[in-house]
Amino acid sequence: MSGNRILSIDNLRVETRTGVLLDDVSIHVDRGEVLGIIGESGAGKSTLALSSIMLFKAGCRPTAGSITLGGQSLMGLGTAELETIRRTKASYVAQSAAASFNPFYRLEDQVTEIPAMAQKLTATQRRRMAIELFEELQLPDPENFGRRYPHQVSGGQLQRAMIAMALINQPDLIIFDEPTTALDVTTQIEVLRLIKKVASTHNCGALYISHDLAVVSQMADRIVVMRNGKMVEQGPTRQLVDNPQTDYARRLVAHQGDGSYATANGSDKTLLDVRNVDVGYGGVAAVKDASIKLGSGSVLALVGESGSGKTTLARSIAGLQPARQGEIRMRDNLLTPLVERRSFDQRRLVQYIHQLPDLALNPRQTIRDVIGRPLSYFHRLRGASAEQRLRELMEAIELPAAYLDRYPASLSGGQKQRVCIARSLAAKPDILICDEITSALDPLVEESIIKLLTRLIKDEGLSILFITHNLGLALRFSHTTAVMQAGRIVEHGDTRAVFEQPQSDYTRSLIQAVPQLREGWLDGFSANAA
């Protein structure tokens, strides 16, 4: 092998007592190269990443294959030797910076812990090392940044501090394990640019793990696609994106969309009219003067970053969080702010679907109980007619009728979300409010849920208020789009118009920040932004 090879893992197999986590996996990383690893949850991405420094979760062990880091085989090495290798040759950047920093110590002490262990350093020397890195990672006030404790800085800054910590021992290999997943899109862009810069200037190799193909395509030179602990496909980034060989990879690429918009099939008639609504907790206003319109038979996407107030607005429409001012009309009927004061029919016609189906389904009720309750409550259906309707609903959400007698725990995430959709459909609503209902799901599962909703709009004549932080999804699925920032609606119109001629700077920056598969997107972004 060439002297530039930093990591090579060959035919690795990792097992637990009950199953196989990784099966016959072979990857390699050369100096100056970024290898992207993509896959859905449970694909074995993180297990693979940590195995490159011979770290395995309790109960897991490698049973076949070899791992070579910096020319040294790691299999069979003792604990002390492995620790030395981890200190000197590799670094790890985790997903949640907030949880990965020790709350007890100042940032500079954690960042410089490894060099301070290796040689005696004075406090001033340690601080100088840290400040240098903080400057490189463009952290604010680098002189004093390290004096802070982890809980005193923001998530984006912590993530950059963790990258600084990863660079301190000048490693040959840096492992980035979903480093931007917990961040908002605009923050994500900054961190991605820094990672890219750091990876090239420090001349090391890197593993970049993500579930987001667009992000990986911007960061990596080559990509490995993982599924259920196996490698599905690997190849140079452009080749994999432009010409995927396997069905699974093709679907992953297709999931990114081709930039085409959903065709409007609704009428122009306004079904839901929200005017000048204010919502707040105590003295704080979470939503200010918000007005949106949902057309009959159409999808309105409500987009924005975390904390922008989109969920609060949706909850006030549902009547869960009463609006303090403004009015909410459904077909010219005024809806009272609080759901408890709304009429039987008003409660039936607006249905709300939560983000996490795990919390929205009672673990001690069967699917029959879950879907059956709105049938008996709203439509007084009992016995055979109820059973008939239950089967129709299961068919509508594409689940076998036999699942009616199961408990939620035995269903997958996507199936649970389908059950929640069926529960809403059982009421025969006009409006579905979907609060980030796909954000906890894997990309392909998300795709199937969107397909289901698209069909239901036609079959059941539904209108959907679709809350999401994912602009790409809004583009593909919605007919109209509203953008929220700091509690206000900053943009509202036809989806095509919003995406192609955004009126506000904020919308423009949001749209630009959505990762794309296009070659050079991130680099182009850097030039534009600078």
Binding site: L50, I53, L55, T79, A80, L82, E83, T84, I85, R86, R87, T88, A90, S91, Y92, A94, S96, A99, S100, F101, N102, P103, F104, Y105, E113, I114, M117, N144, R147, R148, Y149, H151, Q152, V153, M165, I175
Partner: protein, 326 residues
């Protein structure tokens, strides 16, 4: 102090001290109201069965028993704050004179036990957590499960049976006078202290183990492992400081319980402490004495719990420092 300036500690301290005071105030009032609803009052009790109605009435006036309840309560509270808890009904001496020497004896017992059990049990709990699932963890876990199921008097009597009756090493009862010599004291204290140690160690060990395990499963411990930090250093430098806050809290709360546990242990060994005093007072319905003991026990208990919260907060930078840096 600079440390406290502009920090959440101050408001926390104020709130906790206030709620502790409310609790003490509440229990004293409750007891006071309760005692005043008793059929006979102090006047009857003092004068006994042969009293004429006139003498009872005269004594009632003298004792202030004809005043309305809130007035009497605040009168009692005012006196109590000056150390005057009234006169014992069974002994006719001021309550405070009987109480103080007994309180000192109880504190000696409880603190000796704490001095032994806290380092010992915290150490065992640490060892069990670090060696999770190994023999030492299983053995210490099973032993503590057995001790947790035993009434404390059983532990006490078993020690008496082994060390006093069978081996004759220590006296079976610990009726010491304060004038006794130091060796007498030590030999009298050994068995009661040992009993308290055995009673408390299971709790402390179990809680310490859980606290350390909770910390060891944190993401920052995984991070330290990826950095290649040796295991001993991870435990000492990364896990322990974070477990310190719960452990300090466990220790203080254990002290609080030890001071209350003496009630039973003193009865086993006939040890002249405040617990024995209170139990005897309950048996004789010596209400001023019961009231004084109850309020004093509660005050110590509440104060130690308060100290637990404060210390736990001080050793945790996340609570000590404000979110935004200066």
């Amino acid at each position: 102090m600079v440390l406290f300036a502009n920090s959440p500690v101050k408001s926390f301290v104020v709130a906790r001290v206030a709620s502790g005071l409310v609790s003490i105030f509440f229990i004293s009032f409750l007891v006071f109201v309760g005692t005043s609803m008793l059929p006979g009052d102090a006047a009857n009790a003092l004068l006994g069965q042969n009293a004429t109605p006139e003498t009872v009435l005269a004594l009632r006036t003298e004792l202030g028993l004809d005043q309305p309840l809130p007035v009497r309560y605040f009168h009692w509270l005012g006196n109590a704050l000056h150390g005057d808890f009234g006169t014992s009904l069974s002994n006719s001496q001021p309550v405070i004179n009987l109480l103080v020497p007994r309180l000192i004896n109880s504190l000696i017992l409880a603190f000796s036990a704490a001095a032994i059990v806290l380092p010992l049990a915290v150490g065992i709990g640490l060892l069990a957590a670090i060696n999770r699932g190994k023999a030492i963890d299983t053995v210490t876990g099973s032993i503590s499960a057995i001790f947790l199921s035993m009434p404390s008097f059983l532990i006490g009597y078993l020690l008496v049976f082994i060390f006093a009756v069978k081996l004759g090493l220590f006296p079976p009862l610990s009726m010491v006078r304060s004038s006794a010599s130091l060796p007498t004291w030590i030999s009298a204290l050994t068995l009661p202290v040992l009993t308290l140690v055995l009673v408390a160690q299971a709790h402390v060990m179990k809680l310490t183990r859980a606290a350390v395990l909770g910390v060891m499963s944190s993401d920052y411990i995984l991070m330290a492992e990826t950095k290649g930090i040796p295991r001993n250093r991870i435990i000492l430098k990364h896990a322990l400081p974070n477990a310190l806050s719960p452990i300090v809290s466990i220790c203080m709360i254990t002290m609080a319980y030890l001071i209350v546990d003496v009630v039973v242990i003193e009865a086993v060994f006939n040890y002249p402490g405040m617990g024995k005093l209170m139990v005897d007072a309950v048996a004789y319905r010596d209400i001023p004495m019961v009231l004084a003991c109850g309020v004093l026990f509660s005050t110590i208990f509440i104060s130690l719990n308060l100290a637990a919260d404060l210390l736990a907060m001080l050793v945790n930078p996340r609570q000590r420092l404000p979110r935004k840096g200066n």
